[in-house]
């Protein structure tokens, strides 16, 4: 039975962000294998109505990129050509901050409260894999929409769908500059669309698919960039009937499409009711290089947008991609240096199932390496996992997410804020250092005593990123009860030495010590 409870803790830690109150009992009742199966089919797990209601309050999460641009973007309330006054600029910044705040709060809320924990874990993983930076101009508006439209619908589906959805999403087109990518000398090459931009093509192979050792050359990067010329961000904003809408962005006027061949406009996939109306991915034939290319030794006939689809098909089905994705998934879910046999088995499943993510995960979770007790509790949590797991374990109903965002910023892992396209790392050597230990322990103390007041509305003047202050009891939120916390986490998670130290400590420090103990830093 001791082994059984260890396995229950293990799956709760590894297929999610650790237990909330009562979770370990629920997994025991369901049975580990059935519980894993449910997690692999999130639709089978009911979402509590309160969570649905709270998610519904994030208004910008239900908006498409064009809607966000029109309602929260840089041109709201301005006549064409007019420059904003300082007051209008301030208001614009405030609106943008609102959109960013909603995206981050939604991410944290679901990670903390959703019973579909594997879904949340995969949302973190796939976002990091197809990273965009929420601080880059228009991506302040669009990162939340990117998660909803390009990432979340495909978490358990086919890798090719995820790849296609991210390739065409304006957040990615903007982040990695493919919206500028233009065939030199083409009819549309002028102004800022002056030539080839290899950024996206390079990362598409190096990070998103084949991997850095995936066997491609600089010539392949250029070929792929040429294939993807004209994949861009199209008309945004309310154009009048029969007229081409004029589009502006932070970067100045975007191209106005002239007569002759019309750009091909396509709504982002899987938009549901939001997808109605005008999408923002367009293929602009005027800026496309229509000549034949050779990519990875294969001839791609110049013929328009289909070249890009063909290239994505090739990349998604390459054995190098199967290996690269399997290794990254295993590094995220299994170990910093995962067993080669497991990765090989996952890659085999990937190739045999045409990139079926659920099938690949099933191979991983069924492996001996995943269930070996010697691996339980051996990994060091990332800051994000540490903070989310602490809030989950305490069962605090969070209303104000700003203090969590601030702590994560201090710890170096604010959601959606990784600048570089490789996304946040998940390994111990990336995150374990003396300063991190001081900050985690200090967070545990402030949080366990209710000093962060997460369940209360925001206060004015709380400095973002400041260490949490120690407050007198009258100003605190809920104090975390150590006995309940211990029950939630499972007593045999902790060593006898740790438990003895905690019992010997002052009662008001016991919850903090449970959350700040080495056994809770690991998972």
């Amino acid at each position: 039975m001791a082994n059984g409870s260890a396995l229950i803790r293990h799956v709760s830690d590894r297929l999610g962000y650790g237990p909330r109150p009562g979770d370990l009992d629920r997994i025991a009742e369901t049975g580990v294998d059935r519980w894993i199966d449910q997690q692999l089919h999130p639709a089978s797990i009911p979402v509590p109505p309160q969570l649905d209601q709270r998610m519904a309050q994030f208004v910008t999460l239900r908006m498409s990129p064009p809607q966000l641009f029109v309602e929260y973007g840089p041109r709201v309330g301005l006549e064409p050509g007019a420059k904003p006054t300082p007051e209008e600029q301030q208001e614009r910044a405030r609106r943008l901050q609102f959109v960013v705040g909603e995206a981050i709060a939604a991410r944290l809320m679901r990670a903390i409260e959703s019973p579909r924990q594997l879904e949340e874990l995969l949302a973190e993983f796939w976002f990091n894999h197809f990273n965009v930076f929420i601080g880059k101009e228009l991506d302040r508006l669009w990162t939340g929409a990117y998660v909803e439209e390009a990432i979340r619908p495909h978490l358990f589906g086919r890798f090719r769908d995820l790849l296609g959805a991210t390739a065409k999403h304006p957040a990615m087109l903007f982040y990695l500059d493919n919206w500028l990518n233009t065939a030199p000398g083409s009819p549309g090459a002028r102004g800022q669309f002056e030539g080839l931009n290899e950024n996206y093509a390079r990362e598409l192979m190096e990070l998103h698919t084949l991997g850095v050792d995936g066997g491609y050359s600089q010539a392949d990067v250029i070929a792929l960039a040429r294939i993807l010329t004209g994949w861009t961000i199209g008309p945004i904003g309310p154009g009048r009937q029969g007229q081409q809408p004029r589009v502006t962005s932070f970067l100045g006027p975007m191209r106005i499409f002239r007569g002759g061949e019309r750009p091909r406009v396509e709504g982002p996939r899987a938009l549901g009711p939001r997808g109605q109306g005008r999408g923002v991915f367009v293929f602009d034939p005027d800026r496309h290089d229509g000549t034949d290319k050779t990519l990875l030794g294969r001839l791609i006939r110049g013929r328009g947008i289909e070249e890009g689809e063909e290239a994505l098909d090739m990349l998604a089905r390459s054995p190098a991609t199967a290996r690269h994705i399997s290794l990254k998934l295993a590094q995220f879910l299994l170990a910093d240096h995962p067993d080669k046999q497991v990765v090989d088995a996952m890659a085999k499943t990937f190739l045999g199932s045409d990139g079926d993510i659920t099938a690949v995960l099933r191979t991983l979770f069924a492996s001996e390496a995943f269930r070996a007790p010697s691996s339980f509790g051996t990994r060091f949590k990332t800051p994000y996992r540490y903070v989310v797991s602490a809030v989950r374990a305490a069962g605090v109903p969070v209303v104000n997410f700003r203090p969590l965002e601030g702590i994560l910023n201090q710890l170096g892992e604010r959601p959606y804020a990784c600048l570089t396209p490789d996304g946040y790392k998940s390994s111990e050597d990336a995150w374990l250092n003396p300063d991190a230990m001081m900050r985690r322990v200090s967070f545990a103390v402030a949080f366990a005593r209710g000093n962060m007041r997460l369940e209360l509305p925001p206060e004015e003047g709380m400095e973002q990123g400041a260490p949490p202050p120690l407050r007198p009891p009258a100003q605190r939120g809920t104090v975390v009860d150590p006995a309940a916390l211990l029950k939630t986490l499972g007593e045999d998670r902790f060593s006898q030495r740790t438990l003895a130290a905690i019992i010997g400590a002052a009662p008001e420090l016991r919850s903090a010590m449970l959350l700040g103990a080495p056994e809770f830093m690991r998972f």
Binding site: K83, P84, T85, P86, Q89, F133, G135, K136, E137, L176, D177, G191, Q192, E194, E198, N199, R202, E203, E206, F250, L251, G252, F380, N409, Q410, G412, L419, T420, P421, D422, D429, W431, L432, N433, P434, D435, M437, M438, R439, V441, S442, V445, A446, E463, G465, A466, P467, P468, L470, T498, A501, G504, A505, A506, L509, M513, G516, P518, M521, R522
Partner: protein, 409 residues
């Protein structure tokens, strides 16, 4: 006079100790007394270089900027004459002594070869040191840290600000020094009763316990320094504010720990699309504290100013023509500022492309005739004594310095 902050370890690498900051100061005073230093100030938001180093002898400048041009030298509120051709913005008057003693130079029409007008991308490229390449994982100053000759400690590289800047990201350990109010907030772990409780959880020889104990040691030392500071502050004058306060901190840190060799500051507020002002106004109000801070640094370093080079730069310049709101929009070429005892100052370096329509980049901006990397590489080579191989690692693929700047250091 010791004014210490909570030093923050900010890189992933664990194992080294920051507790020995003081000890290192003792050790360093014995050997080659004056390590060479580089201080970088990044002006985020694109400062208007044409109103900093003003081409006041060019009539096109005045035609292009009817309401925001800085008046000609020797006119009322005019530019401070530099060389008969260019003049300095009058808010930068505190820097004129350095110009006169020839330790301040400018490189005009410098910048990045990448055409982007996105603040984010341009800063990213400037900080990674690899324009056009987004996947570079580390910053050029971190790579530089790895190539510096001689001994290194956790404080060989220091960054001022709330989090580690992209310029310093990477494998080498860098110390982050908080600025402003956040620096003085204690953390719960600083309380003895809390500290004692957690000590019991981390008394082993595992990686977590080692990291924990190293962290506690560093905190104890910093708290000690903070207390000394507070005692001294009671007797001292009110502390300076803003950037000058931060540069004073660097001066104090260097006095205590001469091993500091690389320092980084960043300042925002330069994105002057609207009402940027002329000799006075928005831009002037930002330049003034910058000049004061640089003055504090130059004077405070005393004899070590000789061994220091200070570079001020910005991600791109601003449009030659003013816009409809008495401001300027995102442009291309800019001026780099280079200061320090090792600098052959009193000159505006670089190739001046002029402001005629045909000379402008994409018909609107000052062209770039000096790649910022080749200017920095020159400082690294001549001042910090990096060899060719090391330079290639810091700035892979950077073009050679144009002849028009090679005399600068």
């Amino acid at each position: 006079m010791l004014r210490r902050e909570f030093l923050r370890l900010s890189t992933a690498a664990a194992g080294l100790s920051i507790i020995d900051i003081g000890a290192r100061a003792w050790a360093a005073s014995g050997d080659d007394a004056s390590p060479r230093r580089l201080v970088v100030v990044l002006l985020r938001g694109a400062v208007d270089g044409l109103n900093v180093v003003v081409p006041y002898s060019d009539t096109i400048y005045y035609e292009a900027r009817p309401t925001i041009a800085v008046p000609r030298a020797r006119q009322q509120d005019g530019a401070l004459d530099l060389d008969g051709r260019f003049g300095l913005h009058p808010a930068l008057a505190p820097l004129m002594p350095m110009w006169q003693e020839r330790s301040l130079a400018f490189i005009h029409a410098a910048g990045s070869p990448d055409p982007t007008r996105s603040h984010f991308d341009a800063q990213d490229y400037m900080e990674s040191g690899t324009p056009g390449r987004k996947a570079t994982p580390d910053g050029w100053m971190n790579r530089l840290l790895a190539q510096l000759p001689g001994k290194r400690s956790a404080t060989t590289g220091v960054a001022f600000g709330p989090t580690l800047p992209r310029s310093f990201a990477g494998e080498m350990r860098v110390t982050n020094i908080a600025t402003g109010r956040a620096a003085n907030n204690p953390m719960p772990i600083d309380r003895p009763i809390i500290n004692a409780a957690f000590d019991q959880l981390y008394s082993g020889d595992d990686p977590l316990s080692r990291a924990y104990r190293e962290g506690v040691g560093a905190r104890a030392k910093l708290l000690d320094d903070l207390q000394q500071d507070m005692v001294q502050a009671d007797h001292g004058a009110p502390s300076p504010v803003g950037f000058a306060q931060d540069t004073q901190h660097l001066v104090d840190l260097i006095k205590r720990d001469p091993g500091v060799q690389l320092a980084f500051f960043d300042l925002g507020g330069w994105d002057t699309h609207v009402n940027q002002g002329t000799s006075e106004g928005q831009l002037a109000n930002h330049l003034k504290p910058l000049a004061e801070g640089l003055g504090v640094l130059a004077r405070g370093l005393g004899a070590s100013y000789r061994d220091t080079v200070i570079v001020v730069m910005s991600e791109f310049g601003r449009t030659v023509h003013e816009n409809g709101n008495r401001g300027t929009d995102h442009g291309h070429g800019n001026a780099m500022w280079v200061m320090g005892g090792a600098v052959k100052g009193g000159r505006v370096y670089g190739v001046w492309p002029g402001l005629t329509d045909s000379a402008l980049y994409q018909g609107r901006d000052l062209a770039v005739t000096t790649d910022f990397r080749s200017a920095l590489a020159l400082v690294l080579e001549r001042h910090l004594r990096l060899d060719k191989h090391a330079l290639d690692l810091v700035f892979p693929g950077a073009p050679p310095a144009p002849a028009a700047i090679t005399g600068m250091v």
